[in-house]
């Protein structure tokens, strides 16, 4: 997506819908301009964030309906997520027991290491997501529906991995920030 064009169009439309232009308009028109303005802001928020854009696309394509489709978690990632959560638990336990010294420091180091790894993975996953989104864009232009569905499926799968990795990064960062 052309981000410059998004900016330009957003500003043009915002300008058009600006309340100053509706001073002499009827109450009904003012109301409508306000409503359109808030829709415009919502749309802009989703469009400028690549991940939000993919989530929105999958939602309107019916790929992520709550309860309708069962989302699958990649097994090898589950294993890692589980272990890291256990380390987090250990760190919490050690802190609660007022433990200090070598053991605690080692635990922290391990978590910091893991956090760095997961941050890199998050960047990686985002890259994959953008690649799949590009493929989807291409199928929109070519009209190849089968390839489009395949790209949507890939984006869905990548997003599932992403939510685990993002949660972990968040959890570890939060835990390490506490002192």
């Amino acid at each position: 997506m052309d981000m410059n064009e998004l900016e330009t169009r957003f500003h043009q439309l915002s300008w058009k819908l600006h309340p100053d232009n509706f001073v002499k308009a009827t109450a009904e028109e003012r109301e409508l301009a306000l409503e359109r303005g808030s829709q415009l802001n919502d749309a802009y928020r989703v469009l400028r964030d690549p991940v939000a854009r993919v989530e929105y696309l999958l939602a309107i394509e019916g790929m992520r309906k709550e309860g309708a489709t069962k989302q699958q978690a990649p097994p090898e990632l589950l294993e890692e997520v589980f272990e890291l959560n256990e380390s987090l638990d250990e760190l919490r336990g050690a802190r609660a027991a007022n433990q200090d010294g070598a053991e605690m420091a080692a635990l922290r180091r391990r978590l910091e290491e893991a956090a760095k790894g997961f941050e890199e993975r998050l960047a990686d996953v985002d890259e994959q997501l953008m690649a799949a989104a590009k493929e989807w864009d291409a199928t929109v232009h070519s009209g190849d529906r089968a390839a489009g569905r395949a790209a949507l499926g890939r984006m869905n799968e990548i997003l599932n991995r992403r939510s685990y990795i993002r949660n972990l990064v968040r959890g570890v960062t939060q835990e390490l920030a506490q002192e």
Partner: protein
Amino acid sequence: MAYSDKVVDHYNHPRNVGSLDKNDPSVGTGLVGAPECGDVMKLQMKINPETQVIEEAKFKTFGCGSAIASSSLATEWVKGKTVDEALAIKNTDIVRELALPPVKIHCSVLAEDAIKAAISDWKRKNAADAPAEKPASSAAQS
């Protein structure tokens, strides 16, 4: 949104938290997750090869109260049951017992999946002709 008393009870006093030796051929391990909320659930059971009775069950879940309660209840239910009886447990049974609200149904699905995953891991380990001490080529690798 309030949790039911039963969920709160399982959450505050989870039954059978812990782990079993995943390299033990009589132990089946199921590790499942719900990507929507990033829950992970590990359920393990020790199964008697002669009688097919589940003698021990342990779980550890990182997730919301409903996910913890669902897995806690699942370990309680499978203990003493045969493998076939355990496979017959449906997520709807868990929903009913814990009075889970519609938005938390996926937690009960997770618990049912975990039971099935643990049993199929055990079956894989004990597949016909496989020597008992053969290390499982299962997902349970660290």
